[in-house]
């Protein structure tokens, strides 16, 4: 009730001001009249009675003012007055206003845009209920930091662990749909019971798989994505329980996942996080539970409430030790790795995003320094105004408040335009984001971004407004009123402050420039490094043969027929078929090789990635032969086994020897026929585009492959646009088997390009911010030097009158500016040395303290500074001595 009264009163005071003032006047008049009456009653003559009463009443205006103060609305009224005043001031100096507001708008907009990305990618929880408890579980060793599990190990962990509420496995299992329109292969996963339960999701219709579905022979059921259900089955609600043909076998549809279902991302035959998966089928446990050598099941698990990832990891390690006693050879050397899912998905993007946030933050600081500088220069001009207001009785706090109102208004204007820039910027950023960037679709300008923008606007307004405001009230009234704002002592303090701001912004710009330079060098290095293959004019695609219609021997036969028919197509210079394409995440590892005549170091195994390749695979990929020979049509099942290895493996296992002719086997007790002879060594293909590492690799001829060759990639090298080969490929496949789907048809260029798009994205933005920073710093230098020149017009005039020529004056001004810039650059170099460590993880073959980059950045900074000084310096020399002297 009381609060309501108070609110009503204040509202009335604010909105009905005239009425309130009128009331007060009536009240005072009543009081005065009473006093007069009393005076009359005591016998004073009327005129005297009135005078005495007025005397007693005191200053009416003062009472009125005090009453108004008591009504506590003066803050708001003053604010309103200050705002109107500030608006008038800004409107009176449009040039000043536009420069300062646009500077801030750019900086604030850039910050809001980058913050939107950070908010969407790093801050917002994953689209799973209680996502903080979802973790990924890997095996871990020095050679394989993140390794999938063996299914039977998985089953034991699932049964024995006490840390997880649910524990599920998944592994890549694409499915080919035929019988409904054109054959198409869908990205799919084979999942154990409770996979979606672990993620906190459930089917929109139907059910997810249970342990009964995991039994070998039961696996012919499928869950469809909402997208697939709508696109291929017209959202038919009666599809549940119906049978569709996948991989040439009947599968019963048991459920439809809701539209927002997101794949958690995975490592082995990896598919990125997001709405990237269309079919899920049950994972079935097959084979002998005591043979646990093969690892291909990835694990996702939900922690029980209150259990941490590291506690779970400790328990998993204990379970590994326990299982290692039961299966001595299988778990040797493995440790468990439990990582929060969010970390797994966005962790790799974090360093880049934080660097971007840092870079854009520096830009904001520079913009603040610039704004402060502009305000300071104007504060000097306005010294007289401030002095007059102070002389008329404005308190210091009142003056500071008024100056801050102005700077906050400027910041608010900047922020409003900044938001518009941010909205456009976010759209541009999302478009620029690499295709595999996690969570790009959650990036929006939302309430959090608006709040962030308001907060930085407030912070910047205070940051750039406070120093000028405090400076402004340090005026000496007498001085300022007398000399009209020129050459008084308080100017020196302002100049020192301005110089300090200038040095600061030059150093920040220099840091950004160095950062951009380092990223540029790193990127050039990336482009320059030989990936080990030639991606241009190369068309790639994936094919998989259903087990239902192809026996393993038929598969080998199919590939050799496809190979032959592709070779006969005009325009194809080389056609290759192999299990892998570089940089696509499709690779398999094998450990425990036996090398004839060699023993591995203690606690290590000889290991290599294994692949199949057709005779022309290397030629098509553009992978060079280093020694020996490629495969040829003679490498069939009827002759002794042969293999090709990469250079990395040759130098690692046969240092100083010729590996060609040496023999390898997978068997612990090999018969003569088990030995494979190395016939060729090929060049290294880098594992990832942004790392120089290359793992050991080896290839079998498809005909001699010891593993089933159901899935293969096709690589066609043409002489021009690879898209021209798509129809030839389709036709060749159709003639062999019209039910086969051709998946992932894309030029190798795209794959290679996608792999460097993240560093390119980072480089682009950091360069953009560096250019922005340098421009702002140049404006800052220009402003400070111009101001100082205008202040010293008199001095220059005098000097020139006394015989200094214009060159002397030019040098003097340049020296002043360059000295400040050099100080800033020195500080910037030192700062970059310290901050460079942050960039380290983003750099490729460039040291964070790369001398060339530092030197170049310093040179550019000096050049820009010199240019920014030169323009005002020129103006100084143009001063006519007589006019300068008179201008006093």
């Amino acid at each position: 009730m009381r609060r309501w009264d108070i609110f009503r009163l204040r509202l009335r005071t604010l909105t009905r001001r005239a009425r309130v003032d009128h009331d007060l006047e009536r009240e005072m008049r009543f009081h005065l009249d009473q006093q007069i009456e009393e005076n009359l009653a005591s016998g004073l003559p009327p005129a005297e009675a009135r005078r005495a009463a007025l005397r007693r009443l005191g200053g009416y205006t003062q009472i009125q003012e005090e009453c108004r103060d008591m009504r506590r609305t003066d803050y708001i009224e003053n604010l309103w007055r200050d705002l109107r005043y500030a608006l008038r001031m800004l409107a009176a100096n449009p040039g000043f206003t536009i420069v300062i507001v646009l500077t801030l708008a750019l900086a604030i907009g850039a910050n809001s845009a980058i913050f939107s990305v950070i908010d969407g990618v790093l801050v917002r929880p994953l689209p799973y209920p209680d996502a903080g408890r979802i973790t990924r579980v890997f095996f871990h060793s020095a050679d394989y930091p993140r390794f999938p599990l063996n299914p039977f190990d998985f089953r034991d962990f699932r049964a024995r662990n006490r840390s997880f509420e649910s524990f599920a496995g998944f592994t890549r299992g694409d499915l080919q749909l035929s019988g409904v329109g054109r054959p198409e292969r869908f990205t799919g996963f084979r999942i154990t019971a409770g996979f979606f339960h672990t993620l906190g999701l459930q089917p929109a219709r139907g059910r997810e798989f249970n342990t009964n579905d995991e039994i070998d022979g039961n696996g012919h059921s499928v869950l469809l994505s909402d997208r697939l259900w709508r696109n291929r089955f017209a959202a038919d609600p009666h599809i549940l329980g119906r049978t569709i043909v996948l991989n040439a076998e009947p599968y019963a549809v048991v459920g439809i996942m809701p539209p927002g279902t997101e794949h958690p991302g995975n490592e082995y035959h990896g598919v990125a996080h997001g709405k990237t998966v269309d079919v899920w089928s049950p994972f079935t446990f097959r084979g002998n539970p005591n043979q646990r050598g093969s690892h291909f099941l990835e694990v996702i698990a939900r922690l029980k409430p209150g259990v941490t990832a590291s506690q779970a990891q400790a328990e998993m390690n204990a379970l590994i030790a326990q299982l290692a006693r039961e299966h001595p050879d299988a778990l040797e050397g493995w440790q468990a790795l439990v990582i929060p899912l969010a970390e797994e998905i966005v962790g790799p993007s974090r360093p880049l995003l934080l660097v971007l946030l840092g870079a854009v933050g520096l830009v904001l600081l520079i913009a603040c320094a610039n704004a402060a500088n502009l305000l300071l220069s104007r504060a000097t001009v306005r010294r007289r105004e401030v002095a007059v207001r102070a002389a008329l009785g404005a308190g210091r706090s009142r003056l500071v408040r008024q100056m801050l109102t102005e700077s906050l208004l400027i910041a608010a204007l900047g922020a409003s335009i900044g938001i518009v820039i941010a909205m456009a910027g976010v759209r541009a950023l999302v478009a620029l984001l690499p295709a595999d960037f996690p969570r790009a679709d959650t990036i929006h300008v939302n309430a959090a971004v608006l709040a962030f923008t308001a907060a930085i606007a407030l912070a910047t307004g205070l940051l750039f407004g406070l120093a000028p405001a405090l400076q402004a009230i340090r005026v000496d009234l007498n001085d300022s009123l007398r000399d009209g704002g020129r050459g008084s002592t308080s100017g020196a303090g302002a100049l020192r402050l301005r110089n300090a701001l200038l040095v600061g912004e030059v150093s920040l710009a220099c840091i950004l420039l160095i950062g951009a330079g380092l990223m540029l060098r790193s990127f050039v290095n990336l482009l320059r490094t030989d990936p080990g293959f030639r991606p241009e004019h190369l068309l790639t695609a994936n094919l998989s043969l259903p087990y239902k219609t192809y026996k393993p021997s038929d598969m080998i036969h199919f590939w050799s027929r496809l190979d032959a028919s592709l070779h006969s197509v005009a325009g194809i210079r080389a056609a290759g078929i192999g299990t892998d394409l570089p940089w696509t995440g499709w690779d398999d590892n094998i450990g425990g090789l036996t090398i004839e005549g060699k023993k591995p170091p203690a606690h290590e195994m000889f290991h290599a990635r294994y692949h199949d390749a057709s005779p022309d695979y290397f030629r098509a990929m553009g992978i060079p032969l280093v020694r020996g020979r490629f495969f040829n049509d003679g490498d069939t099942i009827k002759v002794p086994l042969v293999m090709i290895i990469n250079q990395a493996m040759a130098t690692r296992y046969w240092p100083g020897e010729d590996a060609v002719g040496k023999r390898i086997t997978f068997e612990d007790h090999p018969k003569e026929a088990d030995w494979m002879t190395i016939v060729g060594i090929v060049g290294d293909v880098k594992d990832r585009p942004n790392s120089p590492e290359t793992q050991n690799s080896m290839w079998w001829p498809i005909e001699q492959s010891p593993v089933d060759v159901d899935q293969m990639a096709v690589a066609l090298r043409g002489s021009s646009d690879p898209a021209l080969l798509v129809n030839d490929l389709r036709e060749a496949v159709r003639q062999l088997d019209p039910t086969l789907a051709i998946a992932d048809i894309r030029p190798m260029d795209n794959i290679a390009d996608a792999n460097i798009s993240t560093p390119r994205f980072g480089l682009f933005l950091v360069s953009l911010f560096a250019v922005l920073a340098l421009t702002l710093a140049a404006i800052g230098i220009y402003g400070v030097i111009s101001y100082s020149v205008s202040r010293r017009t008199h001095e220059f005039g005098l000097r020139m009158a006394l015989g200094a020529n214009s060159g002397d004056v030019l040098r003097m001004v340049l020296r002043q500016g360059i000295r400040l810039a050099l100080l800033g650059i020195a500080l910037g170099l030192a700062g970059a040395l310290v901050l460079g460590r942050i960039l380290m993880s983003l750099l490729y073959r460039v040291h964070a303290a790369d001398p060339a980059t530092f030197a170049l950045a310093a040179t550019v900074a000096v050049a820009v500074a010199a240019l920014a000084c030169y323009l005002p310096a020129r103006r100084a020399t143009a001063v006519a001595p007589a006019r300068a002297l008179r201008s006093e």
Binding site: M1, R2, R3, D5, I6, L9, R10, D23, L24, R26, E27, M28, F30, H31, D33, Q34, Q35, R56, L57, G58, G59, Q62, I63, E66, C67, D69, M70, R71, R72
Partner: protein, 111 residues
Amino acid sequence: MGKPSDLIQGTLDLLILRTISYQPKHGWAIAKRIEQASEEALQITQGALYPALHRLEQQGWIRASWRKTETGREAKFYELTRAGRAQLQKELAQWQRLSNAVGMVIGMAEE
């Protein structure tokens, strides 16, 4: 500036609240009543009285309304609100404590 420097800070509020606690009064009457009751010892200037009234009103302790005086003129009358009555009790108690305490200290000094 007409602030009652001879009155302990906040005492004027107490005096006003007390003065209008029996019946609503206008500013002139409040000042007169305080002067009379204190046998002219306390002189309340308008410069102190009206800002205080406005502050008390602003805090919700008192409420103002325009009414006719006995002589038929319009004047702004102030009366206590419920919250104001509670506030008066609180301030009275506080004043008692304070004056007791001051009295004790003065009494001690005499010994």
